[in-house]
C-alpha cells in the first residue's frame, strides 16, 4: 500500500539562503496553505524525514552538512531544491565561496526555481516530489523482492 504519499514528512535545511524562500516554506504551514491537510509535517530531524527541502546555494561551509543530512535520511527519500539559488546558485553563483546549486553535492529530484518561490509553486513541487517518492518506494520493494 502507498502510505508514504499520504504522510510525507519534510526536513527543511537553509543552505545559504537569504531567508526569502525559507519564509515562503513556512508560509505553506500557515492557515492559508496548511500543508498538514495532506499529512505533510515539518520534522526538523533527518532520521524521521522523507523529503529533504533545501533553500539557497551550497557554500564550502555546508557542503559536508548537506551530504551528512542526506545520508542520515532512511530510504526512500527525495530532495527538493527550492529557489533559484538552490537550483544554480542564483545571483550568488559567481561568489568566491559559493559552489553552485544543491545538485553539486547530492542528487536532486525536483527543482523549484523562483526568487523567491511562491508557496503555490512549493506545494506543486512537493506534490511532484511525492510522486517520485512513491516511484522510489516501488523500486525499493522490487529490489528487496529480487534480493
Amino acid at each position: 500500500m502507498a502510505y508514504l504519499s499520504k504522510s510525507p514528512w519534510i526536513l527543511h535545511y537553509d543552505a545559504s539562503s537569504c531567508n526569502g524562500c525559507d519564509i515562503e516554506i513556512l508560509a505553506c504551514l500557515t492557515p492559508r496553505y496548511d500543508v498538514e491537510r495532506f499529512g505533510i509535517l515539518n520534522t526538523g530531524n533527518p532520521k524521521h524525514a522523507d523529503i529533504l527541502v533545501i533553500t539557497g546555494g551550497v557554500n564550502e561551509q555546508n557542503r559536508s552538512v548537506i551530504k551528512n543530512l542526506y545520508d542520515q535520511m532512511p530510504n526512500p527519500k527525495v530532495v527538493v531544491g527550492v529557489g533559484v539559488c538552490a537550483c544554480t546558485g542564483g545571483v550568488f553563483r559567481e561568489c568566491y565561496n559559493i559552489a553552485g546549486g544543491v545538485g553539486e553535492v547530492i542528487p536532486v529530484d525536483v527543482w523549484i526555481p523562483g526568487c523567491s518561490v511562491r508557496p503555490e509553486q512549493i506545494i506543486d513541487g512537493i506534490v511532484k516530489a511525492i510522486g517520485i517518492l512513491e516511484q522510489k518506494r516501488t523500486e525499493m520493494e522490487r529490489a528487496e523482492a529480487a534480493a
Partner: protein, 282 residues
C-alpha cells in the same frame, strides 16, 4: 473469563481508539490555529508509513529496547484493563518508560541524550502523582485491584478531587503537550524538537508511536477511574480533560525543566498529598 475478554479487547481496540483520539486531537489543534488539519486517520497513515521505510540502525540495542518499551506498555494495559493490581500496572508503566530512556541513551546522538535526561526529569515529576493516585483509590475503595475500583459503586472523585487535579497536571507531561513537552514535542518550533525520539527511525519509531497510542488509552482509563460509578459522567469528564490539555498545548510555550518539576511537585504535594492526608483523617 470477563477479565480475559477485556484484556484481549484492549490489545486490539486500544490502538484503534488511541489513534482516533490523536487524529481528532490533531484536527482540533489545527482548528485552534485557524487551519483545516489532517484527516482523522492521519496517525494510522503515519505509523503505516514508518513501517514502509528502510531500517537504518547501525546496531540492534535501540530496536530491542524500544520493543520492550512497547511490550511493557501493552502489559501495563493488560494488567489495568484486565482488572489486575493497580500498583503492578503502575510499575509496568514505569518500566516501559525506563526502556524508552535506555533506548535513547544507547544511541550516540547528543540530542537523544538531552531528551533522555529530560524524560527522566519528567518521570520524576509524574511518578509521585501516579503512586498517590493508587493510594487514594485504595483508601476510597479498599482495594488495589482495578476490577474492584471499576465496579466501585460511588464516585471516587468526590473524595479525591485534589488527586484528580494533580493527575490532570501530570497528564500534560505524559501526553507530551506544552508547557511540559520537555523531552519531545509534536510541534517543530521548539528548541529540542524530537528529543528522545531523535535517533529512532522507520519501524522503530513506528513502535514508539504505537506504544504512545496504548499509553494514551491507559492514561485516559486511569482518568476515567475517578468516575468509575458513572459511565456517562466519566466519559464526559475524560473528554473535557483532554480538550483542556489541547487548549493548554496551544496557548502555552514550553517551560524549562526546573519550573516544570517545581510546578508538578508543588501541585502533587499540596493537592495530591493534602487530599490523601485529609482522607486519612476522615
Amino acid at each position: 473469563m470477563n477479565t480475559i475478554l477485556a484484556a484481549v479487547a484492549f490489545l486490539i481496540v486500544a490502538p484503534v481508539i488511541g489513534g482516533l483520539i490523536s487524529g481528532v486531537d490533531r484536527i482540533i489543534t489545527a482548528r485552534m490555529q485557524g487551519r483545516v488539519g489532517p484527516p482523522v486517520l492521519q496517525p494510522f497513515l503515519d505509523i503505516a508509513k514508518l513501517f514502509e521505510k528502510e531500517k537504518v540502525g547501525v546496531w540492534q540495542a535501540p530496536v530491542v529496547l524500544i520493543f520492550l518499551h512497547l511490550a511493557f506498555m501493552v502489559v501495563t494495559g493488560l494488567i489495568f484493563f484486565g482488572g489486575g493490581d493497580l500498583l503492578l500496572a503502575i510499575f509496568a508503566l514505569t518500566l516501559s518508560e525506563v526502556f524508552l530512556i535506555l533506548a535513547a541513551y544507547s544511541t550516540r546522538s547528543p540530542y537523544a541524550h538531552v531528551g533522555a535526561g529530560r524524560e527522566l526529569i519528567q518521570l520524576m515529576a509524574v511518578e509521585p502523582v501516579i503512586i498517590i493516585t493508587a493510594v487514594g483509590f485504595y483508601m476510597v475503595t479498599g482495594s488495589f485491584a482495578a476490577s474492584d475500583i471499576f465496579s466501585f459503586a460511588g464516585l471516587p472523585i468526590l473524595l479525591l478531587p485534589g488527586v484528580f487535579l494533580s493527575m490532570v497536571c501530570i497528564l500534560t507531561f505524559k501526553l507530551r503537550k506544552s508547557p511540559f513537552d520537555l523531552s519531545s514535542s509534536h510541534h517543530a518550533h521548539q528548541e529540542l524538537v524530537k528529543g528522545v525520539m531523535t535517533e529512532f527511525s522507520g519501524s522503530t519509531l513506528g513502535m514508539v508511536e504505537i506504544a504512545h497510542l496504548y499509553e494514551l488509552v491507559i492514561l485516559l482509563g486511569l482518568m476515567y477511574l475517578f468516575f468509575a460509578g458513572n459511565l456517562l459522567l466519566g466519559l464526559v469528564a475524560v473528554v473535557i480533560v483532554y480538550l483542556l490539555e489541547i487548549l493548554a498545548d496551544n496557548s502555552t510555550s514550553r517551560v524549562r525543566w526546573l519550573p516544570a518539576l517545581r510546578a508538578a511537585w508543588v501541585i502533587t504535594l499540596v493537592l495530591g498529598g493534602g487530599n490523601i492526608i485529609i482522607l486519612s483523617m476522615l
